[in-house]
Symmetry: C2
Subunit: 463 residues, 2 copies
Amino acid sequence: MTGPRRLHLNAFDMTCAGHQSPGLWRHPEDRSHTFHDLRYWTDLAQLLERGGFTSLFVADVVGLYDVYRDGPEPAIRDGVQVPVGDPTLAVSAMAAVTERLGFGITVSLTYEKPYALARRFSTLDHYTRGRVAWNVVTSYLESAARNLGLEKQVPHDRRYDVADEFMEVAYQLWEASWDDDAVLLDREKGVYTDPAKVRPIGHRGEFFDVPGIGLTEPSPQRTPTIFQAGASSRGTAFAARHAEGVFVISPTPEGLAPRVAELRRQTTEQGRDPRSVKVFTMLTVVTGATDEQARERYADLSRYVSLEGALTLYGGWSGLDLSTMDPDEPLRFAETEAIRSAVELFTTADPDREWTPRAIAEHIGIGGMGAVVVGGPETVADEMERWAQVADVDGFNLAYAITPGTFTDVVEHVVPELRRRGVLPTEPEGATLREHLYGAGQARVRPDHPAAVHASRRGASDT
Amino acid sequence: MTGPRRLHLNAFDMTCAGHQSPGLWRHPEDRSHTFHDLRYWTDLAQLLERGGFTSLFVADVVGLYDVYRDGPEPAIRDGVQVPVGDPTLAVSAMAAVTERLGFGITVSLTYEKPYALARRFSTLDHYTRGRVAWNVVTSYLESAARNLGLEKQVPHDRRYDVADEFMEVAYQLWEASWDDDAVLLDREKGVYTDPAKVRPIGHRGEFFDVPGIGLTEPSPQRTPTIFQAGASSRGTAFAARHAEGVFVISPTPEGLAPRVAELRRQTTEQGRDPRSVKVFTMLTVVTGATDEQARERYADLSRYVSLEGALTLYGGWSGLDLSTMDPDEPLRFAETEAIRSAVELFTTADPDREWTPRAIAEHIGIGGMGAVVVGGPETVADEMERWAQVADVDGFNLAYAITPGTFTDVVEHVVPELRRRGVLPTEPEGATLREHLYGAGQARVRPDHPAAVHASRRGASDT
């Protein structure tokens, strides 16, 4: 590649208050509690588009963080991702007031049927003119499983087996069922769609039977851009096969580097260009006109962190209730896998530090488990370029401390510096989200993507 | 009541082309094939709001009309409700450009989970500021069942048993789980929500177990306005219990009158005010400045009807493939229930007429199975008032011949006449959809509605 490495910015949000920053809803500037108002979303989308963001990434859970203190009360009291709304429903309002911002929407396939979900994403891809991504998750909260009719949660690896087949079904519906020229709108002959250019997918599998045709004509991207955010080994394998954007989390770029390398290695093993996976690492930027102003901002924000809220989040993510432990006793690897994986992220990423429950809570307090960078425009841009270089990431998933304040600060102070350095384009690179990632002309999946094989079934029945 | 009877106008549409008017997508003025473009929906919503419509009703199927000629080809070729998009996703874009229009969205509960669907409608009710209705359906297409993972469709009456419990679960999530003052946003004490004002519903039933709390704080209407459109005896019983708006179809008001009377009788039996159910009958209005212009309009529109498309629709609705019958042989009551119920609508509603397949297709061709009125403003307004008087209906579900042309014609010619007669208000009667139906102040379910009993569980734990 020539020139400096292009960096992608995502905004990380959720249909709730204080998303990754527990307690910060109390900050006087924070508007996250207005998430029920469409204006929150349309204003945010326009801000991000102005700032050259690639996309807005909307997370989701369909349950409660009820591990910490063994019940939902801490989450309810602190407003930790509850109340929480559906993530798919503000997209059209945002799409109507923007031209190129992408929308990465989280939907857990564990509780969906591929035939209906494929139609939902096709409809969103039409309405956004090709700017939608599906962040594929398999739910991690037991409380979701209990309320959605499963006695207990489907085991983790089994969930990914279901996910693999779910994706195959969806790919067939998106890529194979309708030819690009199937819809004729031939008013003379009275042919809306040529039946010879539409075919049933005839899928019979272990988990799903979908014999019929897709319900929608091809949307600009056909398959929505595929995002993935799971960090487990099975999640990484899923990402290596399916993901076009992967969201990762690490306190340091050095800790992240081997994981990104492993992801790219596995992507290559899947027969894909390792650059087909764009890696976004979570980062919270606290900035201002100068380093000094940024530090003042950080000190101000820190006063609103809820440590109880942070441990409530951590309980949901890790399955680990730290309320039973001494807040100042360092965590050690333990016998159970739950505790091992919960601790691993911190200890392996930053092995020189001792992580106590309190230290974890303080770290999570602003921007969740990702890193935080505090500084003026040059400091932040330097740090972003360092992450890209050390960890080989393609961009950042920017969590907020307060919203839209954190994003407003980034757009005002950091974006001009990134554009000055030539790492953030001033002009859009294409109309669709996939073109933002891969370049103009690449609205459809790349040939190395598993959905592409189904595209070859198209046009076989040309008349 | 004093003064003339207030009439409600609904626009009937679907995320597809030529909704109830097969072949009319070929008309040069028709824009229904642009349904993938958000502008189609935002322009339509603004037009309807200007015309004083109560709501836009978006129908849906998650399958194909594949009964006629024993396959999907006729539907695909004629564009009969395929391609078809998801009905929930344009709502926020429309809500953002309107202030009081309601949105009645069809979702089949047969393939949904109440915990997740309750959240979707709560989110829509927040985003619309209380203007959403759920049109509750239990799917009727075998092709939907096959592709959504059911070997064959759940039997009709069983679907309604599931539906009754589904509604109970959803009502509890909407009405009982969160107190109105649960969300405190108390920045001093750091309390987002008072846990004592949020309670798990603890539902254990035959079809669903939902132990937890609802995921969303109360929306303006809490329970979305409930619409229902099934005409079977079990469907009528469901409507009498749950529906606030009921959509019916009949070629004549005289044929409809006993059905409406029976619905109101059953509503009374359920302990509800018979006036709590607002009945909308399907009507297609072909109008112009004068009767003469309207007749010319009708003659022009009729040239584009697809009789094959009409019989394809009829096959899906009735389960009856009329392709095997002589197009000019009158239909008779037959031994099978499918044929009896399919024929019944026409023969009982208009017993003096002989209904052949061709006559049915011609009738369906413009506006589906509902009545068509052709005339200038006074003729149409007279006919509407006659329907209200003879059949005791509260308003009309207006299908289009072409869109937005049919609605534009109604707003231009008929709405001023209805307003002149005082049967259509010039000013909004309230902020929410339910207030449009019941009057200002009635944003929440009326006390006679089955959801209301769950409201009594609120506030019991006041602190």
